[in-house]
């Protein structure tokens, strides 16, 4: 019994240690976002702010539109960052990329998992190989292409190239593979066409896989920095990660507290989506890794 207790205590200590490694920086971010900038670098460091500076959040969210006295200034204050607008931009990009990826990867994954067509294996590995090519290699051709289409510096230019996803195709394929083939055969015996097999059985049964893909795609593109950095140049078309960088120069003060307040705000949507989809996410990742 003592030995079991010892093991349990050791396990908890181990977990608490790693939890602290992950959580302490987050705590520091939240704590600093509520300080006066001058307190941020004080020694010894203080874990909790002395005054809760909610103004930092006000600065992030509203300073582009209003003076501190409440006067509406619209977009006059060009040195400020229209953070709510950038969140809307990010949301639009993530929404359409997520919908697009789930839609197309569901089809592509089904084709690779269940249909027989010439060159299937070669095509599948070709698609998989695209995951090995770093974005830095393809970004220039993508930029040139979008430029010729007149889509640079636009949200459409961010959305369209992100819709085809090799990872999403792979994830959905793995999910379809674990659905017993007897269901497909039963549908065929029941008189279903290939489309009906997909639409009435495989598509609904792959919903957890789609949830996983949606969460991963949303989070990835919510946090994506490199592509928007290259493709977007106008500050009103910025996405949240670019906006956070821009916050550094807020009124030329470079207030760390305001930047971190921006980071805390930017974490909220991803956190909400993760909390709602957590069960599917963990289950789905295990599903994809081991063929059941």
């Amino acid at each position: 019994m003592n030995r079991i207790n010892g093991n349990v205590i050791a396990s908890y200590l181990y977990l608490v240690f790693f939890a602290l490694i992950i959580l302490l920086p987050l705590l520091w971010v939240v704590s600093t976002s509520l300080r006066l900038p001058v307190e941020s670098y004080s020694l010894p460091p203080k874990w909790l702010p002395t005054d809760f500076m909610w103004e930092n959040y006000w600065e992030v969210l509203f300073s582009y539109y209003y003076e501190r006295d409440g006067t509406f200034v619209g977009s006059q204050a060009s040195a400020n960052v229209p953070f709510p607008h950038l969140m809307l931009n990010s949301f639009i990009v993530c929404f359409f990329v997520t919908i697009g990826q789930v839609f197309f990867c569901s089809f592509a994954g089904y084709a690779f998992a269940r249909l027989a067509f010439p060159g299937k294996t070669a095509l599948f590995w070709f698609v998989m190989a695209t995951m090995m090519i770093p974005l830095q290699v393809t970004i220039i051709p993508i930029y040139v292409l979008l430029s010729k289409l007149g889509l640079t510096d636009s949200l459409t230019g961010l959305i369209l190239p992100a819709i085809p996803s090799a990872f999403g195709t792979f994830l959905m394929r793995q999910y379809y593979l674990r659905i017993p083939s007897a269901l497909e055969e039963a549908m065929i015996m029941d008189g279903a066409s290939q489309w009906q097999v997909f639409w009435r059985v495989f598509f609904p049964l792959a919903t957890p896989g789609m949830v996983v893909l949606a969460i991963l795609a949303f989070n990835y593109h919510w946090n994506e920095f490199f592509r928007p950095l290259i493709l977007i140049s106008t500050d009103t078309t910025f996405t949240v990660p670019l906006g956070i960088v821009a916050l550094r120069d807020y009124k030329m003060t470079g207030s760390i507290s305001v930047v971190l307040a921006g980071i805390v705000i930017s974490m909220i949507p991803a956190l909400i989506i993760y909390l709602f989809g957590q069960k599917h996410l963990v289950e789905g990742i295990l599903t994809g890794s081991v063929k059941g």
Binding site: P180, A182, L183, E185, A186, M187, I188, M189, D190, G191, A192, Q196, R200, V201, P204, L205
Partner: protein, 369 residues
């Protein structure tokens, strides 16, 4: 109802022949069971009839129509799968009705047929449950309901009871037989369980290594197996085999099992007795034909030493060694026997078989009545 003809049906996977030139004629309304060990080609044969597997050679005819190139949905056959294959996101009603809705059957007609089917299978109260809320037996009934509701010409059952526990299996076996009596549709049923085959079939097709070993009524196959494989596969415990030779002493013929055990040649082999001399033979007998001593003319008594006893309640299985081979006898539980002790047993001559050791075929017996 429909007849089914398999003509020279052959299936090869990567050069390996898994179904080899299978010919079977199945009558209208007949209950045929394909039985054999794992990998004998019985499920592949069934899947070829369903259209889920392409054939390499041969012809399949359903209702006198060649269906080789016809899609599974247009063959008018319904299949019950080993693992039920129920659609997990649909309730029982939808699982049963989906085949009709995909064929564009009118909603009122669908409702009527689903309710009739549910009544046959006792599923009326479960129609709006999901498969995960059902027991194994109920799921199996839903799988059968999905087949029945279509009113197909032929039912195909692919080991439908193998996922159920022993008690439920017996219960469902009876249900299937009742359903067959009620709907009188042709059924082709695949199993590796010889008891299931014996109890359900009008005729059994015994398969081994892709080939048909024997086709016949269950009792006929049990009493008159044609090959060693059939003799040992059908019946539990399986038939005992002991190497032997037929010898002549004076005017009498004997089966010589070893130097100490000689049994008079049974009557049914007398017509061919000279042809049996000097042949490599095996002597086969079923456990239930070796019993405690009983008074009958056609019986032979012999003494053995008991190796192991297995009391089953209604009978006791006695394992003993005869001519170097382990054999089994089925005796009355009242018959006093003890492991390690000598015992007198009694062999029913009329039921023994001789097997050609070279061809592994049973030597035909005559005046076997």
């Amino acid at each position: 109802m429909a007849n089914v003809r398999l003509v020279g049906l052959t299936k090869k996977f990567d050069g390996n022949t898994v179904v080899d030139n299978v010919d079977v004629d199945i009558e209208h309304g007949e209950f045929i069971v394909l039985v054999g060990p794992s990998g004998c080609g019985k499920s592949t044969t069934l899947r070829m009839i369903a259209g889920l597997e392409d054939m390499t050679e041969g012809k399949i005819m359903i209702s006198d129509r060649t269906v080789n190139l016809i899609q599974p949905k247009d063959r008018d056959v319904a299949m019950v799968f080993q693992n039920y294959a129920l659609y997990p996101h649909m309730n029982v009603y939808k699982n049963i009705s989906i085949s009709l809705s995909m064929r564009g059957v009118d909603k009122t007609e669908i409702d009527k047929r689903v309710k009739e089917t549910a009544a046959i299978l006792g599923l009326e109260n479960l129609l709006y449950r999901l498969p995960k809320q059902l027991s194994g037996g109920q799921r199996q009934r839903v799988a059968m309901g999905r087949a029945i509701v279509r009113q197909p010409a032929v039912f195909l059952f692919d080991e439908p009871l193998s996922n159920l526990d022993a008690k439920l299996r017996v219960q469902m076996r009876t249900e299937i037989k009742k359903i067959h009596q009620r709907v009188s549709t042709t059924i082709i049923y695949v199993t590796h369980d010889q008891t299931e085959a014996m109890t359900l079939a009008d005729r059994i097709v015994v398969m081994n290594e892709g080939k048909i070993e024997q086709i016949g009524a269950p009792q006929d196959i049990y009493d008159h197996p044609k090959t060693k494989f059939v003799a040992s596969f059908i019946g539990s415990p399986s038939m005992n085999f002991v190497g032997c030779e037929v010898v002549k002493k004076g005017h009498s013929y004997f089966i010589k099992l070893d130097e100490n055990v000689m049994i008079p040649l049974p009557k049914q082999y007398h017509a061919e007795k000279d042809a049996l001399l000097d042949r490599d033979l095996e002597f086969g007998f079923r456990p239930e034909h070796v019993t405690e001593p009983r008074s009958s003319v056609d019986r032979h008594k012999f003494n053995v030493t008991v190796d192991v006893l297995e009391p089953l309640g209604n009978d006791t299985m006695v394992y003993f060694t005869l001519a170097g081979r382990s054999c089994c006898a089925r005796v009355s539980p009242e018959y006093a026997a003890e492991a390690g002790r000598g015992i007198e047993l009694d062999l029913d001559f009329a039921k023994v078989h001789l097997l050609d050791g070279v061809t592994n075929r049973i030597v035909p017996a005559y005046n076997n009545a």
